[in-house]
Amino acid sequence: MAHSHDHHNGGHVHHHGDHPHTYSQDPSAHNARMQSDDAYREGAVKQVEHDLDYYQVRMMALMNVLREKGLLTTDEMRRAVEEIYGQSPAIGSRIIARAWVDEGFKERLLADADAACGEMGVDTTGINRVVALENTDTTRYMVVCTLCSCYPRQILGQPPTWYKSFPYRSKAVTDPRGTLKDMGFDAPDDVELIVIDSNADCRYLIIPQRPAGTEDWTEAQLFQLVTRDSMIGVGDPLTPEQLEEAVQASGQAT
């Protein structure tokens, strides 16, 4: 495929406007506010259900037309959907963990990312060109597609909702440091922050910095530290402490 034109929500965007909260000591005002909140929530849920129905029906109609015209079979469509859902950020995490432990691999990844992905058994033929960029102490990259939602799906899976949102797409290029701050990350003042607008044929993979305290970690251990956001450039990988906390939290949950 030459180009992924993924324009979402085309002409079907709903805006609910402001929903101001007024605070009052008066219990009747409080009750009125609660009722209005309930009504608001109910309306919002109805809207989401309507949207889901709308897209579901439109998608099924399109699939039926494709089937009837003999352009695609049910099985081909099922396999395509399964392939999309089979893509996940774990593919990228595997590549980053390898780059952290194998300097030669990292050099090849930076020089020719498609070939390096191929070495790892990751097929990037759906992407015209994969470009890997390495964060350092002095340079940090962050990726945005201001035009739509171009994203290295074969490596990172489907893009997160915020990546496709207008606020991220506009603020990332007009106030990148503020954007990172919104997402809970402070870029150091002296670092060179490079915003990559993924607007054409390339898809980008950020190689985040290997966390401190992982010098004797194996590739499989390091894999667990690589977050999706760190490969988009809007955050750092987990620290060993954060991973430990996450493991304990999930242990308590089960």
């Binding site: 060109r129 990559i196 607007n199 044929d201 390339c202």
Partner: protein, 95 residues
């Protein structure tokens, strides 16, 4: 080495064109001056592909680097902050 229209290090201006229809040059770099910092190779022209064409002739694709503060009237970042964007040859003119 492949002969290319522009070389790494060249100062270039993004043409201020507003053609009807699909193109991948974002409005906020039009008319702005930046520096070529990488050549990616030749790719099909999306302005033709978008309408079912074959995308030929292939177009040279460059990475153009801007100081992010040169793109906006407000202070968008620190003085060292940059924006890199992919631009096809027919949108570039030498400065």
């Amino acid at each position: 080495m492949e002969e290319t229209t522009f070389r790494v290090g060249d100062r270039v201006r993004i043409k201020e064109m507003y053609p009807d229809g699909h193109h991948r040059t974002t409005y906020f770099v039009k008319g702005k001056t930046g520096v070529v910092n990488r050549y990616f190779g030749k790719y099909k022209n999306p302005e033709n592909l978008a309408y079912g064409g074959d995308g030929l002739p292939l177009r040279e694709l460059y990475w153009v680097e801007f100081d992010i503060n040169d793109l906006w009237d407000h202070e968008a970042g620190k003085k060292q902050d940059k924006l890199y964007i992919e631009i096809y040859e027919h949108w570039l003119e030498p400065v």
